[in-house]
């Protein structure tokens, strides 16, 4: 006798904001009537922290892993012990997305050392002979859109051999690259835009790439651990591009791996020459 248990959220994109209601159905499909000892549904939001082995020792990293911080948790009983008729059964449910006390609902984020995850879990208890069934489903929490309008502050930059923090400054060929970013504080849902102009370069350019870097900071017993890792690397120019021509900078932030509030994001334009 096979049973399938599934959680279906109403929203196709599974994105919810604070204060909204997570709604959906628990879907049960079985051929015959099914005896069970109760179905329960729980919602959980957890921050997982993991220390980097670089900043603290390997063992410390293993032992000192910080306790997960619970952001939200609630549990309801969907059905008392009883019988479910054969066929397709849909049990609707709703969870309000509210925090308790002074906790903040952070955005969903999957990083290397920090993970913020929200999930729904449905359990069905059954008699001794049959295994309990369980199913979990992740949903995504986004912050409320910023209410105050951010005034974009464009920033200009210039790259020459002198501006680089490199040891072999003298061995580098001469070049001059100018450009600007349209804003330093970006709205996460909108792409990063800007332009870069190769004014001159002694050596033909092979490629210009745009690197998105995240900085994660974890607090632990011995202070803070701070790590920078690459999220995404995008090539914006290939080959020896036309000098003096503005090349667009354009990057869509990968939503799962970046988040605006908790961590600071840092952008670096790297020209590989």
């Amino acid at each position: 006798m096979s049973v399938t248990l599934d959680i279906r959220l109403k929203r196709a994109n599974k994105v919810y904001r604070e204060g909204e209601t997570v709604a959906g159905v628990i879907l049960l499909i079985c051929k015959e009537a099914l005896q069970h000892h109760g179905i329960s549904l729980s919602m959980e939001g957890v921050v997982n922290l993991q220390l980097s082995s670089k900043s603290v020792g390997v063992f410390e990293a293993f032992y000192n892993s910080v306790k997960p911080i619970q952001l939200i948790s609630s549990n309801i009983e969907v059905a008392k012990a009883g019988k479910i008729p054969g066929g397709k059964t849909e049990i609707p449910f709703e969870f309000p997305l509210h925090t308790k006390g002074n906790k903040v609902l952070y955005e969903t984020y999957h990083g290397v050392f920090v993970n913020i995850q929200y999930s729904l879990r449905c359990d069905m208890k059954r008699s001794l002979l049959a295994k309990d069934l369980s199913r979990s489903c992740e949903f995504i929490v986004h912050c409320q859109p910023q209410k105050s309008k951010v005034i974009p502050t464009p920033v200009n930059f210039t790259i020459t051999p002198d501006t680089l923090q490199s040891r072999e400054k003298n061995s580098l060929p001469k070049f001059l690259i100018r450009g600007h970013l349209d804003a330093t504080n970006c709205v996460i849902s909108l792409p990063l835009t800007g332009e870069v102009v190769v004014e001159n370069s002694d050596v033909p350019i092979k490629s210009i790439e745009l690197q998105l870097v995240r900085v994660e900071t974890c607090g632990c017993a011995e202070g803070y651990a701070r790590d920078a890792t690459e999220i995404q690397n995008i090539q914006i120019a290939e080959g020896d591009v036309c000098h003096g021509l503005a090349i667009p900078i354009y990057m869509i932030f990968p939503r799962l791996f970046t988040c605006p509030t908790l961590e600071t994001t840092n952008f670096k334009v790297g020209g590989v020459i």
Binding site: A12, I234, I236, A237, E238, G239, V241, A246, I247, P248
Partner: protein, 891 residues
């Protein structure tokens, strides 16, 4: 058995005719008649229109009777339906999967939305593939190697390790035996096609990630410009894959939204459900995170259409962004083609967004100096490609972009474009593309300007003859102002005639021939022909230029239909002499003949035409040899026959006859032609008779005898026995009608004498068939003619009839066949008719046996004796038949 005296019954044909004559009974409208179409018509309306008529359900309205075959099927018949369906599918490549076809059809529909006057990409596609080929081996590069590993591996199941292993193996092979890994152009195309297939497979087996990987790998190939001559073709092949991918994604999202009912064609964002939107967004996010620039650009362009599901203005926003992105591509060739692809997709999805097209073009102009950059030069030196050749590689891309821009663009925009091109140092490459892409009318109106600009161009880089070629192409389809035409031609030809390489020269000259033919007289065409001959004759340069020379002829023939003018050009025949390869020459002659037959309406006796045509026909005829196919012979013969039919010397019959004599000598190898000649001569004889109203003078009598003689000596050279027989009979009849008794006699005698040669089986349409029925038919009509043939005074009574019957008796008929007896049976009516006092029919001015013998009893008894013998034979046969039956019964 008691002997029965058989004799023929006397008959009065006139009385019989009157008695038997049917009364001409008119069939009433309402009456039933089997030949009338049975149609149920609305009787009410009928009654209203025609009162008092006894109209019933069947009517005799004059409308065409319904064809029972077509009425069986309602609508179109299945065969033509299939044909129509396949016709829409075939133009693109042969690969077809159901989804692909669906998408293609859909896409075609949309291309139509652009307008039928927009030359679709599918046409360009083939052209580019045919034009940009390479004999050089395409070295397989690392990309391809790794790509292949991924494509053939089962999804992402193969671990990274194994994949790198495979790559290493590939590398090793490349290092040790480079030639083995080198791919010919065909191999390369096949490999790409394989990828296309595996893309579809991956898609249908729900491996979307693998599909995306294949597409990314493919578009990566486009950044590789080794074997640069092949780049345009490579672009075509790979964009095919991208198109497939774009369609697959679009169709999938489309089906996701059409759950309850399919989306209308002009759906809006509101009609799209959330799941579909989410899937669509995911695609875009995934693509946005592709690391390399080129794949990101191409793949996003490929699924540009999917933006329709997300946002009304999304396409409008995406196009300029992608356009700007192309600026990041360093290699000018790669960038130009990326622009071409973007323009193509843009035209397909949103033809109204002209702005980004223009933007693309201006960016292209902006980066134009890249072409002469150090990098490119170094690459060209490495690949040993000349600058002019390199520049031509750009032309498909730039032409396409310009074509998109110029499509239904206002005049002012085109002028602006031209100005911009001018500013850019009058670059020849651009000029060339402008002339090709802009409306011919636009170019033609400014032809003089263009010539000026072409002259100003620097010769280095882009050869001028190509520019004049493009100009000529525009002028061929649109007319420049009348007053400028001659100067244009003079200016252009001044340059063309200086082109040194014969190949370049003829390529250009061929195009200008059309312009010349359109607007000028034979004098100018003649001059041009003379110039072409002058250029192409040294070193037998024409041998390499047959296609172009053929096209020159074709163009002249499209515009010059008056053959007397055509052949009076003194350079035309010398021009034909340049076709020295047999197959090509015959081809050319055939095309001339086809045009002649189609357009020469009046019969002709013009000696110029006749001489030239005879020459051409002789060339065709002389090409026939033992290896010539039957079909080829037939088509040649048909063309020559067509010519012979067009020849008429009016009343000058003798001239016509001598023409036939000459033609017979010339075309002796083609039997159908000889048959036609015999028919022509026979017709000539009958024509003479008609002119003389049946009374031949001495001169005309001699002439018709000459005609008979012509036929008599021509017929034996035919190999087909039945055409010989029927021609003998026909010529005999003609001779008889012209009172040439001895000639008629000779014809018929000849026919009888070759009867034994008739084989028992002949091949009809490639199958062996018994000749019996043909022979019986012939003998019957022969017998009918024999009634009016007067007996020869020196031979016995009924000499020919006896001769025929003897032949029939000696002929080896098939076993167990009744044929012989059938002939006997049909001979009986003849004999009976011969014994009448007046014959059923006769030939004017020829005395038949009825008058010769005047019912002589001796003659009649001869006939009776003959009849008796025949009847005896018939009865004997019947007896054996009866015996056979008894025997079979006993057994």
């Amino acid at each position: 058995m008691a002997a029965v005296q058989w004799r023929s019954r006397g008959r009065n044909y006139d009385a019989e005719l009157q008695r038997c004559g049917l009364e001409a009974a008119l069939v009433d409208f309402g009456d039933y008649h089997p030949l009338k179409p049975i149609m149920v018509t609305d009787t009410k309306t009928r009654r209203g229109t025609r009162k008092g008529s006894t109209s019933s359900s069947s009517s005799s309205s004059s409308s065409a009777p319904p064809d029972p075959l077509s009425s069986m099927l309602d609508g179109t018949d299945p065969l033509s339906m299939f044909a129509a369906a396949s016709a829409t599918e075939t133009p693109t490549m042969s690969h077809s999967s159901s989804t692909g076809d669906l998408g293609r059809r859909k896409r075609e529909k949309e291309e139509e939305a652009v307008g039928p006057d927009f030359e679709p990409w599918s046409l360009k596609r083939g052209e580019i593939l045919a034009r940009f080929t390479t004999t050089e081996k395409l070295s397989i590069n690392l990309f391809m190697g790794s790509d292949r590993g991924k494509a053939t591996s089962q999804g992402s199941a193969v671990s990274e390790k194994v994949r790198t292993r495979l790559e290493e193996l590939d590398d090793l092979e490349e290092g040790s035996q480079r030639e083995l890994l080198n791919l010919s152009q065909q191999d390369y195309a096949n490999r790409i096609e394989e990828l296309n297939q595996s893309l579809k497979e991956a898609w249908s087996s729900d491996q979307k990630v693998k599909a995306l990987k294949i597409v990314i790998q493919c578009s990566k190939l486009l950044s590789d410009t080794s074997v640069i001559q092949f780049y345009p073709s490579k672009f075509v092949l790979i964009t095919d894959i991208l198109d497939t991918f774009g369609r697959l994604v679009y169709d999938r999202i489309w089906t996701m939204c059409s759950d309850p009912r399919p989306l209308p064609d002009n759906f809006t964002v509101e009609d799209v459900n959330d799941t579909a939107k989410e899937t669509c967004l995911n695609w875009f996010y995934k693509i946005a995170s592709i690391r390399e620039l080129l794949p990101r650009l191409y793949v996003e362009a490929a699924i540009l259409k999917c933006n329709r599901f997300l946002n009304k203005s999304a396409i409008q926003e995406t196009l300029p962004r992608l356009t700007a992105m192309i600026r990041g591509i360093g290699d000018p060739l790669v960038a130009a083609y990326a622009r071409a692809y973007l323009c193509r997709v843009g035209m397909e999805v949103a033809p109204h967004l002209k702005e980004s097209l223009n933007r693309n073009f201006f960016d292209l102009l902006g980066t134009f100096r890249q072409i002469s950059s150090e990098n490119v030069r170094a690459q060209l030196v490495l690949q040993m490609v000349e600058m002019p050749e390199y520049l031509t590689l750009y032309s498909p891309a730039i032409s396409w972009i310009l074509q998109c821009i110029a499509y239904r663009a206002p005049e002012s925009l085109l002028t602006e474009m031209m100005e911009r091109c001018k500013k850019l140092g009058n670059n020849a490459l651009l000029l060339n593309s402008v002339m090709r892409a802009f409306r011919p009318e636009f170019v033609a109106a400014r032809a003089t300007d263009f010539i000026g600009m072409i002259k100003d161009c620097d010769e280095a880089g882009f050869p001028k003859h190509l520019l004049f070629g493009s100009l000529g192409r525009s002028l061929a389809s649109a007319d420049p102002p009348e007053s400028e035409r001659l100067t244009i031609l003079n200016e252009a030809w001044k340059v063309i005639t200086k082109v040194r390489s014969p190949q370049d020269y003829i390529n250009c000259a061929e195009i200008w021939v059309e312009f010349t033919c359109r607007h000028f007289t034979k004098r100018e065409v003649n001059t041009i022909l003379a110039d072409i001959i002058k250029h192409m004759t040294p070193d037998r340069a024409f041998e390499d230029a047959y296609p172009q020379l053929q096209s020159v002829i074709r163009k002249i023939l499209t515009y010059l239909h008056d053959f007397s003018v055509l052949f009076s050009m003194e350079r035309f025949l010398p021009f034909l002499d340049m076709f020295q390869k047999d197959s090509v020459r015959v081809e050319v002659c055939k095309s001339i003949m086809e045009v002649f037959i189609k357009h020469q309406v009046e019969l002709t006796r013009d000696p110029v035409i006749l001489n030239a045509m005879l020459h051409i026909c002789k060339t065709m005829h002389d090409s026939v040899n033992a290896l010539t196919l039957e079909d080829e012979k037939r088509s040649l013969a048909l063309l020559i026959i067509g010519f012979i039919r067009m020849v008429s010397f009016g009343r000058d019959f003798e001239q016509q006859l001598s023409f036939c004599v000459e033609a017979r000598a010339t075309f002796c190898n083609l039997e159908p032609v000889l048959v036609q000649l015999i028919h022509t001569v026979n017709q000539l004889a009958m024509e003479t008779r008609r002119v003389m109203r049946g009374n031949h003078s001495r001169k005309t009598a001699a002439f018709v005898r000459a005609c008979a003689a012509y036929s008599f000596i021509t017929i034996p050279s035919l190999s087909s026995i039945f055409s010989r027989l029927s021609l003998y009979l026909l010529s005999g009849q003609v001779a008889l009608a012209n009172q040439c008794l001895s000639q008629a006699d000779a014809f018929l005698k000849a026919a009888v004498s070759i009867l034994p040669e008739v084989p028992r089986s002949i091949s009809v349409e490639g199958k062996l068939r018994s000749s019996e029925s043909f022979l019986l038919d012939f003998i019957n009509s022969f017998l009918a003619t024999l009634l009016v043939i007067p007996d020869h005074p020196e031979h016995g009574v009924l000499y020919l009839v006896r001769g025929l019957l003897n032949m029939v008796q000696d002929y080896t008929w098939e076993d167990n066949s009744d044929a012989k007896v059938r002939v006997y049976i049909s001979a009986l009516p003849l004999l009976a008719a011969m014994s009448q006092e007046t014959y059923l029919y006769s030939i004017p001015k020829v005395d038949s046996n009825e008058t010769l013998y005047g019912g002589d009893p001796k003659f009649l008894s001869e006939i009776n004796k003959l009849c008796e013998t025949l009847i005896g034979q018939i009865l004997d046969h019947l007896k054996t038949l009866g015996r056979d039956e008894v025997r079979t019964l006993l057994i």
